[in-house]
């Protein structure tokens, strides 16, 4: 059964913004790409380093791993460049009553 966690009011996560949240032992990055919200696990599949604090490209909806430069598609979690080659986990994001919520399991 999936849990729903509340992140913040939508006004606090405008286009181009991101937020890193903790849930149990997971860290998750939530991104607003030009109005669309996406969430990925904050852990690069290449060497397990933090990912979501990397450079966020809102036009292409990607984040770049700050450690070795792999570019991840925020929509799918798939790496678009090496050295990472395994997708990272993605999580559904919904907005209800102007509150951003994350579905985790």
């Amino acid at each position: 059964m999936a849990d729903i966690i509340e992140i913040c009011p939508l006004s606090e996560l405008p286009p181009g913004a991101r937020r890193i949240v903790e849930w149990e032992d997971l860290e998750i990055g939530v991104f607003n790409c030009a109005g669309e919200l996406f969430a990925i696990e904050d852990r690069c599949s290449h060497d397990d380093g933090p990912l979501a604090e990397g450079e966020f490209d809102t036009d292409n909806c990607t984040v770049e791993c700050p450690r070795h430069g792999s570019l991840f598609d925020l929509r799918t979690g798939k790496p678009k460049t090496l050295p990472a080659y395994v997708p990272v986990d993605t999580f559904p994001v919904v907005v209800e009553d102007d509150i951003v919520k994350l579905e985790v399991d």
């Binding site: 430069g69 792999s70 460049t81 080659y85």
Partner: protein
């Protein structure tokens, strides 16, 4: 009269010596000379933001490439120097390097148009004589830029692109933009970041679907200036079902202070394609050779690196293949020869990221006169890469007590039903082997050469014939005076 084993050995040695006979010069005479500097532009030593912008302006690059360079420079400056590999890495002084030297107005397609000094150098090194004989295309890079480029007309008619990277960016920008730095992003490591900031020259190859380039394409890299930094950038894209063999060679003058060569090479083999990439690296012993080479093999594709390292002060280079599609195959054949004052830190990496993929790594190293060779390798089988097979063999030959060999293999296996083997040997040229050959009438030096040649033969035989002869010559050169 029946031949005896003795006459067989003598004949073998006689033919070996005949092919090596005219090589008695040392490196300084054969490759280590340098020309007068009649350059159009030579950047002062040191790396600045202004210089990076200037390189981009010189080349009239699009804005995205300028931004790419500047971002890479930030990565380079932010990253610490690696602390693994070799202690001599700490000796690289980035402030003492000329990062850009322009020797010629443009890349010429006619040999006659290449500046006289530069032409003389390449003539002396046997290029483009080789082009006429056995190559499908040649590129010659002198300092920072390619001064000559030519490709067989028939191949051009079939849609094969073989040009220097600067020209490719101007003439095939969409293709370059789509694939450039997708295999090795600028922030992959400090040296890749440096290359991404100041890259210049290198080759761009595109082979259309189904086209087989039967003869090799060759690039030759030459450093002339003291304290030069050469940062070529190569991208090879073999489309579905195509085949190409790319060969590169490199030399530099012998100087008392250090130069830096830091290339980035990216290969992409689309489904069913095959790329073979052969390197005969023979930099002079004052060159730091710090290179990142990586390939992707898609479904049913094959990538082979044949990597021969003879020269340089320190080489750190681990060509890698990511097997991304089912049944892809990767192969790394590596020879390293470390003489006095040299450290060859070489090896390879294979990542099995898809089911039923196969790979081999065969690495051989020879150390003499206090030289150090290291094998550093990674074999990774990812979760889901069922039925993968891999074999890693690394052999080291030590020619004296003062020399050193190390092996640093890493193996990570994420699946149960795979077949992975690793063998490593370290051996010395034994008295018994020498005694056996000498009892058949060979001198000690000849016997020792024969043992070394036999040791590397399984890899040398994979080189095109002309390179195999050259490789044997070079080994011969390195072995001079090694006895007594």
């Amino acid at each position: 009269m029946a031949t005896t084993p003795d006459t067989n050995v003598n004949e073998a040695v006689a033919s070996e010596n005949a092919s090596l006979q005219h090589i008695n010069a040392d490196y300084t005479e054969r490759y280590g000379f340098h020309d007068a500097e009649n350059y159009l532009y030579k950047a002062p030593k040191g790396l600045t933001r202004e210089l990076v912008q200037k390189i981009s302006e010189f080349k009239s690059e699009p804005q995205w490439m300028r931004d790419f360079r500047l971002k890479a420079l930030d990565h380079f400056l932010a990253r610490p120097m690696p602390t693994w590999g070799s202690p001599s890495l700490a000796e690289v002084d980035f402030d003492e390097i000329h990062y850009f030297v322009r020797a010629s107005e443009r890349s010429e397609r006619s040999w006659d148009d290449v500046p006289e000094d530069v032409k003389k150098t390449f003539d002396r090194l046997g290029i483009p004589e080789a082009e006429r004989k056995f190559l499908a295309g040649v590129g010659a890079q002198y300092e920072s830029e390619v001064v000559y480029h030519q490709v067989n007309e028939q191949l051009e008619a079939q849609g094969v692109i073989f040009t220097d990277m600067d020209t490719a960016l101007r003439e095939h920008e969409d293709l370059v933009k789509q694939y450039f730095a997708t295999i090795i992003p600028p922030n992959d490591n400090k040296l890749a970041a440096l290359n991404s900031a100041v890259w210049s020259g290198g080759s761009f190859v595109y082979v259309p679907p189904g086209v087989h380039v039967e003869m090799p394409l060759q690039a030759y890299f030459r450093i002339n200036t003291e304290n030069m930094g050469q940062f070529e950038r190569t991208l090879i894209l073999a489309d579905e079902g195509s085949y190409v063999h790319y060969v590169e060679g490199c030399t530099a003058p012998t100087y008392s202070s250090d130069s830096l060569h830091s290339a980035v090479v990216e290969l992409i083999a689309k489904p069913g394609a095959r790329i073979r990439y052969t390197t005969v690296q023979n930099w002079s012993n004052n060159v730091f050779n710090l290179v990142t080479k990586r390939a992707v093999a898609e479904t049913d594709a094959t990538v082979e690196w044949v990597d021969c390292n003879l020269g340089s002060k320190l080489t750190m280079k681990y060509p890698s293949v990511y097997l991304m599609g089912e049944r892809a195959h990767g192969e790394i054949l590596s020879i390293a020869f470390a003489g006095h004052g040299q450290h060859q830190d070489a090896g390879g990496k294979i990542v099995h990221a898809a089911p039923n993929t196969t790979s081999n790594i065969f690495a051989k190293s020879i150390s003499k006169d206090g030289g150090r060779s290291s094998y550093r390798g990674l074999l990774e089988v990812a979760k889901g890469a069922h039925g993968s097979k891999s074999k890693v063999v690394c052999d080291a030959l030590l020619l004296d007590e003062a020399s050193r060999s190390d092996t640093y293999p890493t193996i990570r296996i994420g699946e149960d039903d795979v077949d992975v083997g690793h063998e490593a040997t370290v051996s010395k040229v034994g008295e018994e082997q020498l005694f056996y050959l000498m009892s058949h009438g060979l001198g000690e030096e000849e016997a020792s050469k024969l043992i070394v040649n036999g040791f590397i033969e399984p890899i040398v035989k994979e080189l095109p014939m002309e390179y195999a002869v050259e490789m044997n010559r070079l080994i011969e050169l390195q072995m001079e005076g090694s006895i007594g």
